[in-house]
């Protein structure tokens, strides 16, 4: 069920990607062009529904004439640009950035990272056993979702999703500075004392699993979480007239979490508390 709305036709601009001439619609990013050309550039803070903050820097590429490397996810392609994606310089930066990340937070639930670590021959252990880590206990302070900042890469996606890009609730923000910066609600309070409305849109965009459904968190703790045994069914939310699309993730005949298709032009993956968390009645068999 994918509806692709047709936008206003855009002019094409020409530039060079790894020596090959390419054409891309005006306004596209270097990353868009890379993907269109079938090139795989790793990304973490970029997300399909949000304007990237270009904070993770794993997507850097070389642009002729630029003193520094350039984040492919955010830099718009310009006519005549010469972009190189796989140079030693770009690969070196990606490797070290992956090492820095993997040595400071737990990436075990971040999709694709294990593959990139291998591909770039990253060795996060080389900073030694005393390398500072974000060692934080998961915050379990409500029945709906868990915040485990020991896995957070500070991609700002949840902040943007909760803030002016989608939800407009502004319940979370980055607090502190430097290595001590953390995602936090006001006064670093428990979620239940914050402005959070439990729409779960932040969980939807979190690329690392730092934010997760309580159901998923508990099952992982119990060792019963198994994506290979899960099926996904997209349906329509029955609660109100908006009619958002829900994707039910089902394992062993139980709904274990609810997401929403990002390419849906109405919701772009966003839901409200009822659609996202209100699924218990479906499986209440008493």
């Amino acid at each position: 069920m994918t509806v692709t709305p047709l936008g206003i036709p855009r002019r094409l601009l020409e530039f060079t990607l790894d020596g090959e001439p390419v054409r891309a619609p005006e306004g596209s990013t270097i990353l868009d062009a890379c993907r269109a050309a079938g090139k795989d550039v790793p990304t973490l803070c970029e997300g399909d529904t949000l304007t990237p903050k270009n904070a993770c820097r794993v997507c850097v590429v070389e642009v002729e004439g630029s003193r520094t490397l350039v984040p492919a996810c955010s830099r718009r392609a310009e006519p005549g640009m010469e972009v190189r994606t796989g140079t030693e310089r770009a690969r070196h930066s990606r490797k070290v950035v992956l090492e820095l990340l993997a040595s400071s937070v737990d990436l075990s639930t971040t999709p694709r990272v294990a593959g990139w670590l291998k591909e770039y021959e990253a060795k996060p252990d080389r900073f030694g056993p005393d390398a500072a880590r974000v060692d934080e206990e998961p915050r379990v302070d409500n029945d709906l979702y868990v915040r485990d900042y020991g896995k957070c890469i500070l991609c700002y996606k949840c902040v943007d999703a909760c803030g002016d890009q989608w939800q407009n609730t502004f319940a979370i923000s980055v607090a502190g500075r430097g290595f001590d910066a953390r995602i936090a609600v006001e006064h670093d309070a428990p979620l239940t004392d914050s402005a959070c409305v439990y729409c779960g849109n932040c969980i939807e965009v979190c690329p690392t699993g730092a934010l997760s459904f309580k159901s998923e968190f508990d099952m992982r703790a119990a060792g019963t979480w198994d994506e290979s045994r899960q099926s996904e069914t997209t349906t329509v939310c029955a609660y109100c007239g908006v009619g958002c699309n829900l994707t039910l993730h089902v394992q062993d005949n139980e709904i274990v979490k609810v997401t929403s298709p990002h390419d849906n032009p109405v919701t772009h993956g966003n839901l409200c508390i009822k659609g996202r968390f209100g699924y218990q009645h479906v499986q209440n068999r008493d």
């Binding site: 270009n54 820097r57 520094t68 820095l100 923000s173 607090a175 430097g178 910066a181 006064h187 914050s194």
Partner: protein
Amino acid sequence: MDLRFGDSKPTDEERAAVDALLGPPESSWEGADRSDADLRWARGGREARNRRDLLLPGLHAVNDRVGWISEGALDYLCRRLTVPPAEAYGVATFYAMFSVRPRPATVLHVCTDLACTAAGAAGLCADVESRLAPGSGVQVERSACLGLCERAPAALAIRAGETARPAFEDEARPGPQGGPGAQPPGEGNGKGRRGRTTQRSTAVCAPATPDTAVRAATAPETAPPEPPPATAVPQAGDPALTLLRRVGTADPADLDDYRAHGGYTALRRAFALGPAGVIREVTDSGLTGRGGAAFPTGRKWQATASQPDHPHYLVCNADESEPGTFKDRVLMEGDPYALVEAMTIAAYATGAHRGYLYLRGEYPRALRRMEHAIGQARARGLLGDDVLGQGYAFDIEIRRGAGAYICGEETALFNSIEGHRGEPRSKPPFPVEKGLFGRPTAENNVETLVNVLPVLTMGAQAYAAIGTGKSTGPKLFCVSGSVARPGVYELPFGATLGELLRLAGVRDNLRAVLLGGAAGGFVRPDELDIPLTFEGTREAGTTLGSGVVMAFDDTVPLPRLLLRIAEFFRDESCGQCVPCRVGTVRQQEALHRIADRTGDGAADDIALLREVGRTMRDASICGLGQTAWNAVESAIDRLGAYE
């Protein structure tokens, strides 16, 4: 936006502090008592939201009065400004001068940065900490460079309290010598005034001894007064000076004296030339930005002036926080009207009617002097709706930083003024197109702007004749460390490092010179013939940066210094991007490991440092991360630090 505020209420003091800034609340929506009318109308919304930029001043107001920012105070401020509390919390926790935990009303910042470390800051800190143990009512904080390096070691005491600020009274009172430039005692010393001890006060203490630092914190009125700004200018009074000529000769509190010393002739010439004429003159003079990037000022102004989008803004970056830099402080303290005049000219040229002076929070005297100068200029029609009767409207607003080196980065500075976290934005778009409040903005630092005055008074040709072909004009250098006469020096571009150091009285056993501050690089004692120009330093494989020259003799332990530089960047990284947020930590850890090692024992970690450093330089968002490794790398390569 549907904001939720918690249940915590502000105390009367906190409420008063906020209301003193914003005026009393008008309805219960803003935190006033509920009235019947409130049930029928709602106010706030867009109007209040547009005042988001008052968040930082609001946080200052509470912190100044109470010493820290409680939940109730933060929520009240958010309610008044329609700012989500989570965002305000993120802003409050970004700055070093604020605390969201209770703390004593007095905080003593003791500098542990490069010049102060070389001058024995470690001992000073230990001594002060033992005398001001918890319970003394003073919190001691080890701080980054306080911009007082010429008088290292330095300390700054800040006591929270009510601000009934008769700052100008202080200024007007004749000082010990009774002459121009005579010194007021520390701001609002509070001695006898209203007989209260809850007066807000600040005391700058440099050079500090354990005794004077403790007194500055516990009984500011008994601490020695701050010496006049001219003591930071060893050449003061030399008629050959251009930028520093009024420091110590004209009274910084007296507008007439400023005029008697040539003030406001440049602005008159500007009005005669018209905006385009001013830009042409500045372009022809070859003036380049003095903050380190050396971008041509005329080009920046032209690019701003020609933007169709309005309004345009002018921002003066007075957040000099580069360790070893204090020239902007000395200019603002010693010749504040010069900056007011220069900002007026820059605004006129770029078509701005509002200028922001973003002044670093650790400069109490510069703040008072600039407030006074701006007030006087406004009262005399030199700012306001009709500057000099020329029909041009321009006014200046001061914004106080709150302890964040990164806010000296131009786009971080915009975010800070706008009431967001001081995180750099990614460029493009550039500020001349989308700067402060998303509008075309010309941003210059204090020294750059002050150079515009001689450009206009002596004319572009004469100005361009000073210095070298590519680096024109006079340049200020901040010399500190192992020299007999530390201070701000003015020399034409092209003088050599050796000439400057001889002027400052360099000692024989020189081991290393740090050029350009923590983001700059070290050079050896046998490299003193490097010409002090942008192109000359570049050719020598180093950088002029903002004009910092720190000399270290062989008594200063180099590894300790390098570790301090790494600590500085670790502390000051905004935390936005991974190479810098984690890279600065890994570098500091590696330097810590090899602190006492050399040769093979250090080789692995040095290789690691190089790899991480290369990535930080290549992949960080802003200049902080990109330059954080420069100084250490130069120490390894040029000084053989760990051989």
